[in-house]
């Protein structure tokens, strides 16, 4: 349970370890232990007795939770819980991420589930991904062999697939100082405690009455949440009053390759995406749709 001996590689790996330092955590991860944080994805998805092998509990590791401002932008520790994100004092560009945090399950889930767990689980319906994509987030990964960093868009490689290598853990999400204001909208079969059928996030920076920068993303539609470059290019430079009317299916739907599953048909998802995006643009440019 106490982990110093793992650094030397001499100890036999216990079934469960909750280390205090990142160095210890990485040594344990390197020996094949399964990382866990809030367990809100891991438990419902696993038959607990079948949760075989050693478990690496990340919730006690110093420096892995909390939100701080650094000279490279905002740093969200991987083990930061959604409840903390929802209540954090962050610039308006993060409003979409904070709104998404309040929609992850219910408060009981937000008090346990973490940002890192949401990204590493890589569900197509992970509510954290679209707002972080619109913030141009990068992820910081670490293993006993060293650290590396990549864009979040490259990290999530498919449904339940990520770029994490054997023995590697996600340590933080880095968001460079983002401009403008963000927003998030989620469509589910009811209003609370529900998996998204479609969710959309947007961020718009307005200067001189025009859209200076636009970033939009749709999730739960395709195997991996996507950014919408065609829409972003079409909105850039428009007077704010014209922005919402410019949103049309041709700028959104081709980027999605929408899926059909038990929650919705592809056609419904595509149509709903366009409606959500139009509402986001209207809200972010001060109009109504």
């Amino acid at each position: 349970m106490y982990a110093n001996e793992y650094l030397t590689g001499e100890a036999e790996l216990a079934e469960y370890v909750r280390p205090r330092s990142l160095e210890e955590a990485l040594a344990i991860a390197g020996r094949g232990a399964k990382p866990l944080a809030g367990c809100t994805d891991l438990f419902p998805a696993t038959d607990r007795p079948a949760l075989g092998g050693a478990l690496l509990d990340l919730t006690g590791v110093e420096g892995l939770s909390g939100i701080t401002r650094t000279d490279r932008g905002w740093r969200i520790g991987a083990v930061t819980r959604w409840a903390e994100v929802a209540g954090a004092a962050l610039p308006p560009a993060f409003d979409g991420l904070r709104a998404a945090a309040r929609e992850v399950g219910a408060i009981q889930i937000q008090n346990a589930g973490t940002v890192g767990g949401n990204l590493c689980n890589a569900s197509p319906a992970a509510d954290g991904v679209p707002p972080l994509l619109t913030l141009d987030a990068r992820v910081e990964l670490a293993s006993a062999a060293g650290r590396r960093e990549m864009a979040l868009a490259e990290f999530v490689t498919g449904p339940r697939r990520t770029a994490l290598a054997e023995g590697e853990i996600l340590t933080a999400v880095i968001v460079p100082e983002p401009a403008g204001r963000g927003a998030f909208l989620k469509l589910g079969a009811r209003s609370s405690l529900v998996i998204s059928i479609v969710m959309a996030a947007g961020r718009i920076d307005v200067a001189g009455g025009r859209v200076a920068e636009a970033a939009f993303s749709v999730g739960a539609c395709s195997p991996v949440a996507v950014r919408l470059p065609a829409l972003e290019a079409a909105l850039a430079g428009l007077p704010v009053a014209e922005a919402a009317d410019r949103v049309e299916a041709g700028l959104v739907v081709p980027a999605l390759s929408a899926l059909s599953d038990l929650r919705a048909e592809a056609g419904y998802r595509a149509e709903a995406s366009v409606v959500l995006i139009r509402r986001l643009v209207a809200g972010l440019t001060g109009g109504a749709a």
Partner: protein
């Protein structure tokens, strides 16, 4: 390997030895400690019947590894009343018919205590409903539950005012 954790449960400090680190807090409470107030409705985070407070935060005990909780303070429904005197939230659930079969009730009450502690819900019934959305009631006693939470919250604020006055 045996894992020893030190917990405070409903005010009493306890040292608990676990042989299996995969035991959830819910199973520990119900099967080892015979605190059967927290209920196992779904065992996957979806119903809230297992809600307890960990250091004042409400969580689903079915999704929590007991072994990860070394050093924390846990409050369950059994820890709310003081002797024969019910906790104001318990009292309010009775007065407002906040239950029918009662299966979800311990979770509802613990969630309501957590919600009031968070101090975010205000007096808007819609925000109470949203704040309580992690607790499902199959009997549909939602109307009484919201009334009970509003009433209990008012009682608390009243009490705080009187204390500070």
């Amino acid at each position: 390997m045996t894992y020893v954790l030190n917990l405070t449960i409903n005010g009493a400090a306890q040292a608990i030895a676990l042989d299996d680190p995969r035991v959830t807090l819910l199973d520990l409470l119900r099967e080892r400690l015979h605190l059967t107030g927290a209920k196992k409705g779904c065992d996957r985070g979806q119903c809230g019947a297992c809600t307890v407070l960990v250091d004042g935060r409400r969580i689903n005990s079915c999704l929590t590894l007991a072994v990860s909780l070394d050093g924390v303070e846990i409050t369950t429904i059994e820890g709310l009343a003081e002797g024969e005197t019910l906790h104001p939230v318990q009292q309010a659930f009775i007065e407002h018919d906040g239950f029918q079969c009662g299966f979800c009730t311990p979770g509802q009450i613990m969630s309501a205590v957590g919600l009031i502690g968070e101090g975010q819900a205000g007096t808007d019934p819609e925000r109470i409903r949203e704040g309580m959305s992690g607790n499902i009631c199959r009997c549909g006693a939602y109307h009484g539950i919201v009334e009970a939470v509003l009433d209990a919250q008012a009682t608390f604020q009243d009490g705080v005012k009187r204390k500070t006055a």
